[in-house]
Symmetry: C2
Subunit: 165 residues, 2 copies
């Protein structure tokens, strides 16, 4: 059978920005990310959850070089929106598993999270798709994280009869 | 030049679950999603943000049929973790733009958010990757959302010299 998870990737050049307590109403996401796009800032991840309340947080990532400029841009929008704060964390890294149909296989995400948990590696951000499950962790744990996730999915083993071409 | 955004997809068979105020420490994500996997519940999206504090929320989606069972499973884990609550919303739908290299093009996400904003359509959840940008919205707005996003990216226009095969 074809492998569901085919590899582990990581990216150290990641900085996290959180705009805290933005009004949860139409137009807010557009206003924020349009401001960044106008300045040609490349945003990698955009992550937002909501629970039943008036405000929510908007999280995104940029490269470390772009962090000062991104923060300046969103602080202006945040003031306009009445957001509480803009937080930044330049010392995160992204570790991801890549594959196919991953979310159609119960347990794949849990296995990745378990590999990180075994190392006592805290997961700050999670974002998933069928072909990529990404976690932001502390950057000083990224090598260990890649190794543990690699092992958890047996990606270090040769299995010519199992792996697709 | 090749199109960056090639289509708009949607999924009505989506229910949102939020585990509110879980301890932000290693092992929590694994415990929750392992419990769901053990019961063979298919989880589609997993979304988590964090700001500087002790707890965070874990959001995921399942099919509407799986919602009662998923809720029951996570409520047990939530009690064990000391989480505040488990919220559910069966009346959401997912609308996504699909393409290639989307996050490498500043403005793509902003344009999608803008299309929804123009309709006064509130965005509850955002999750992105290079090939898919997904938003959860109210399910009664999904047809309009698809139409607006389609128009915003001119996907209704024939452009044989512009589109790749
Ligand atoms: C928070 C933000 O996503 C808002 N709900 C919007 O629709 O723009
Ligand atoms: C909240 C959850 O993701 C936790 N930080 C963990 O690592 O499991």
């Amino acid at each position: 059978h074809a492998r569901v998870v085919v590899g582990v990737t990581h990216d150290r050049n990641v900085a996290k920005v959180v705009v805290v307590d933005v009004p949860d109403r139409p137009g807010v996401a557009h206003q924020l990310f349009n401001a960044l796009a106008q300045e040609e800032i490349n945003v990698d991840m955009i992550v937002q959850t909501t629970k039943a309340q008036q405000a929510t947080d908007l999280l995104f990532t940029v490269t470390r070089d772009d962090l000062p400029r991104a923060k300046q841009i969103v602080e202006a929008v945040a003031r306009d929106l009445g957001a509480t704060a803009v937080q930044e964390d330049p010392s995160v890294a992204k570790v991801s598993i890549v594959g196919a149909g991953m979310m159609s296989h119960p347990g794949v995400a849990a296995r990745m999270f378990g590999a990180l948990a075994e190392g006592g590696i805290n997961i700050h951000v999670i974002s998933t798709s069928e072909i990529k499950i990404s976690c932001l962790i502390d950057e000083d744990r990224v090598e260990e994280a890649v190794r543990r996730v690699h092992q958890a999915f047996r990606l270090d083993q040769l299995d010519s009869e199992e792996a697709p071409a």
